[in-house]
Amino acid sequence: MSEETARPAEAAGTGGGPGRILVAVYGIFALAAGARAAVQIATRFSDAPVAYSLSAFAAAVYVLATVALALGGRTSRRVALASCSIELAGVLVVGTLSLTDKEAFPDETVWSVYGQGYGFVPLVLPVIGLYWLRRTGRRPR
């Protein structure tokens, strides 16, 4: 990959072309995770404070990733890179913990059992996000 001419998909950065689908899926997840966390914290926070705090954190990261990928500027790319990395780490760590230490997670979070409750999309999404950041990042110097 030495010389790459500007392709239409890349002209708009991370939020354009196929990236628009990525942002759409991220947006839906931000909405789903955010609404869920709000409900959990508002109605029954004391039941599972760790799980619900984690839900809220996950939701915040999804919102951050959505906005950063949509904007696609220089700083946004870094923010997107960080949030996708946090998501990947989160889904792996929480997914493993939710299987080994069930007591710590009595109620589901987006990341429980590697995102099983959401069709494993939380596991796949950050990987695609990171790949997309990498791909759109290759520009001729």
Binding site: P18, A24, L31, R36
Partner: protein, 122 residues
Amino acid sequence: MSSALSTVIIIAALLAAAYSLVTALRDRAMGWDHLAALGVLEALLVAQMAVGFVKLAGDGKGPDDTATFVGYLIGVVIIPVVSAGWGLLERTRWGPGVIVVACLAVAVMVVRLGQLWEGAVV
């Protein structure tokens, strides 16, 4: 919940998704027809929200997890509007692609609404 209305919404969402998928595969940008489809879907979802709130207020025997139910009821209404805007910004096949994702999400959320109402899965 009204299962008839839910069925209509799910079918409408899937039809809109299929139609947008064809557009995306044909490498066309989204047009007025997609906006009209999203408009119909939005109208149905608003109707569902109204029916949902009336039932919650009237029946007295709502779902166990009322807060989550209300969250879904309101959240699902936002999706077609935002996806229309986001899709319109992209004048390529990825515009209707966004509509495919949005419509599938709406279908899934309406199914979840039904489950929450029945109390089958929480």
